[in-house]
């Protein structure tokens, strides 16, 4: 099996999808000859041409609105929004249109569409190239929201997203684009949407995370192990719908729950997970639930390292929860 970065895995998935099915088209800013600002679409314009790999006018609203029109007509559009921070001009097309077409038409007009966008910080991108905006979309009935953290998941979940019929917000943890590497199967395969990934089994504390924060969590888990605390780490990877069963089973086993997210704290997805644990696993909980998150401030430039949870902050939460009696 070839070793791939997360970025190469996405490029591979796009290439496989386009070769497999001519309904798959891509549109976005600089995705053509340039191959995307990160290189996710490199080589695809040359291979599939202007009609299937479209450099569009510079308008997120236009990219998303026209992608909706393509999806309704039976294509499988995969629009790229250059940075998730730029998606808001097209927000209405996502939450009121793409997400609602199937429902509001009584099932007559499904709108398959996979909106790919780099998410999160870690590249010294300041407020407008670093946001974790997943909660806006997770709050939207009709959408699927996913955020893989490994190359294999990125490839398998992207293929699974393109070849199913619901609109998907496909968030790519840009901090891992070139840092995450692993062996990935060649050819077509899918990783099922809606299922979490067990990163490491443990029995003292459940730690739930997603996106690039999973890698930070792995560091924290290793440090906790040195102190003799066995942490079970779950990479949620699908945020809507999410794998409630896997998380609750783990919480019932460990009785202690820490959730780590890069997004701001208030109404972040960690809050939903915490609420669910309180509803479904309260009898098993032996300590308060701890949320580790970004702050309720805009994402800063110079102080990015303070804003983003680091392994120490996560470890502190693990320690607190593990020792609570």
């Amino acid at each position: 099996m070839p070793e791939m970065t997360l970025l190469a895995a996405i490029n591979d998935a796009l290439n496989i999808a386009m070769a497999k099915d001519e309904r798959v088209v891509m549109l976005g800013e600089d995705i053509g000859k340039k191959g995307g600002v990160f290189g996710a679409t490199a080589g695809l314009h040359e291979k599939y041409g202007d009609l299937r790999v479209m450099d569009t006018p510079l308008s997120e609203n236009g990219i998303l609105g026209t992608a909706v029109g393509m999806g309704l007509y039976g294509l499988r559009p995969v629009p790229e929004i250059q940075f998730l921070d730029f998606i808001y001009p097209g927000f209405d097309q996502i939450v009121s249109e793409m997400a609602k077409f199937r429902y509001r038409s009584g099932g007559e007009y499904p709108c398959p569409c996979v909106v790919r966008s780099p998410s999160g910080g870690g590249i010294k991108g300041g407020h407008y190239h670093s946001q974790s905006a997943e909660s806006y979309f997770i709050h939207t009935p009709g959408l699927r929201v996913v955020m893989p953290s490994t190359p294999r998941d990125a490839k398998g979940m992207l293929l699974a997203s393109i070849f199913q019929d619901d609109p998907v917000i496909f968030l790519e943890p840009k901090a891992l684009y070139r840092h995450a590497k692993e062996e990935v199967e060649s050819g077509y395969f899918e990783v099922e949407l809606g299922k979490a990934r067990l990163v490491k089994a443990g029995d003292a504390v459940t730690l739930v995370s997603w996106g690039s924060m999973v890698v930070t969590c792995e560091q924290a888990v290793a440090k906790a192990a040195e102190k003799g605390v066995s942490v079970e780490l779950i990479d949620l990877r699908s945020l809507l719908p999410w794998d409630t069963d896997a998380v609750m089973a783990s919480v019932k086993k460990t009785g202690r729950l820490v959730i780590a997210q890069e997004a701001p704290r208030t109404l972040g997805f960690a809050s939903e997970i915490a609420a669910t644990a309180a509803e479904k696993a309260i009898d098993s909980l032996r300590a308060p639930i701890a949320r580790v998150s970004g702050f309720d401030t805009p994402f800063p430039y110079t102080l990015e390292h303070v804003y983003k949870p680091d392994a120490q902050r996560i470890l502190n939460a693990i320690d607190y929860v593990a020792r609570y009696d």
């Binding site: 009609l51 609203n61 609105g65 026209t66 029109g69 001009p89 038409s105 199913q164």
Partner: protein, 369 residues
């Protein structure tokens, strides 16, 4: 650009029917216009009687809509606005189908999920309708691009009002379609009012058609109450689109003779003489005079048509009223292709409440209050 295309007056004087139209074509258009007027009157009455919750009439805009839609073969996709049900009537959608939607009952195609007039009519290539203004404009450009990608010989049409041109969606849709030379026809029905805001507060542009220049496409302003002028502009736009000549913006200059919706009263903001002036230019009356001159209209035919449409409407209303509301479970369907676990759980919670505490009461609610 200030010129406005008109055909009816000249065509009335001419010996032959214009634009290759047959007598049957003319009668089909007239019938759809009249049926739309009667449908709107019935809809407003039903709303006033408290039998449906809301209604969006199109009185005065029948020519603007039928003239354009008549130029669209039935496999052309149309992205309607919420004031263009005339197109559904022209395409042969049964009254029962439309009226079920006004009632939001169990046989409503959209399963009672949208307010009245927000139809979805896939069988007739009419796309599901949204309330936020202009969202369909960029979508139509995307579908037109999809048609290009597939190499098909079709056009896509989208309808919006003068207010819709102020939305970003208008800019996106026009700009993308212009760059792509996509087979998209943008129909701006300038009825001069965006609810209560008059056109002079909507744009400083001399016309809406003039806006086409900036997007590299032709813009045509037509007399929107002259069904033949509208048809001519639409026919030419479609021929150009199919030939690879790209999109067109058609501005139909018309007037909304009724309220924005059943919740609106134009007397609060509109000079009363305006309605009087425009009633004299009523599109149905003008077309009727033309047909009469061509010996295609008689008072007897009008009466027979009116009686038939009125009876059909009455039947459809009766049937819709005897149809129950959609089953409670349907609220959870079609959010996704398949029901995900969290919705199974939420549906079960509703079922449980009904099992233990009885049916959930509809406590009413009036729009807007």
């Amino acid at each position: 650009m200030a010129e406005m295309l008109q055909v009816l007056d000249a065509a009335t004087k001419a010996a032959k029917l214009p634009l290759g139209l047959t007598p049957d074509d003319c009668k089909t258009m007239y019938r759809a216009m009249l049926a739309t007027r009667l449908f709107d009157q019935r809809g407003m009455n039903l709303q006033r009687q408290g039998r449906i919750g809301f209604c969006v009439p199109s009185m005065g805009q029948e020519a603007s809509q039928i003239g354009t839609a008549f130029a669209a073969p039935k496999d052309d996709w149309i992205y309607p606005s919420y004031r263009t049900h005339s197109i559904a009537i022209l395409r042969g959608v049964p009254f029962r189908t439309l009226i079920d939607q006004l009632y939001g009952n169990a046989t409503d195609i959209v399963k009672g999920r949208q307010m009245p007039n927000h139809f979805s009519l896939r069988q007739w290539n009419l796309v599901s309708i949204s309330s936020p203004i202009g969202t369909q404009i960029s979508q139509a450009a995307g579908t037109a691009r999809a048609i290009q990608i597939r190499g098909e010989q079709k056009a896509v049409w989208t309808y919006f009002g003068d207010g819709g041109t102020s939305e970003g969606e208008f800019h996106c849709g026009m700009n993308f379609a212009g760059v792509w030379k996509a087979p998209c026809i943008f129909v701006c029905e300038n009825n001069q009012w965006a609810i209560s805001v008059p056109v002079r507060q909507q744009t400083a542009s001399e016309s809406f058609a003039a806006k086409a220049i900036a997007y590299g496409m032709p813009g045509v302003k037509v007399d929107g109450n002259d069904v033949l002028a509208v048809y001519q502009a639409a026919k030419e736009a479609r021929e150009r689109a199919i030939a690879g000549g790209g999109p067109t913006l058609i501005e139909t200059f018309t007037f909304r003779q009724g309220p924005h919706s059943s919740s609106d009263d134009p007397k609060r903001y509109q000079p009363p003489e305006m309605l009087e002036t425009w009633k004299k230019k009523d599109p149905i009356a003008r077309f009727q005079a033309f047909l009469e001159k061509k010996k295609l209209w008689t008072p007897e035919w009008e009466k027979a048509l009116t009686d038939e449409i009125t009876a059909d409407l009455a039947k459809a209303v009766d049937a819709a009223e005897q149809t129950p509301a959609p089953a409670v479970d349907t609220m959870f369907d079609d959010v996704y292709a398949t029901l995900p676990p969290h919705l199974v759980e939420q549906r079960e919670a509703v079922r449980q409440q009904i099992r233990t505490s009885g049916a959930i009461q509809d406590t009413g609610g009036k729009f807007p209050l």
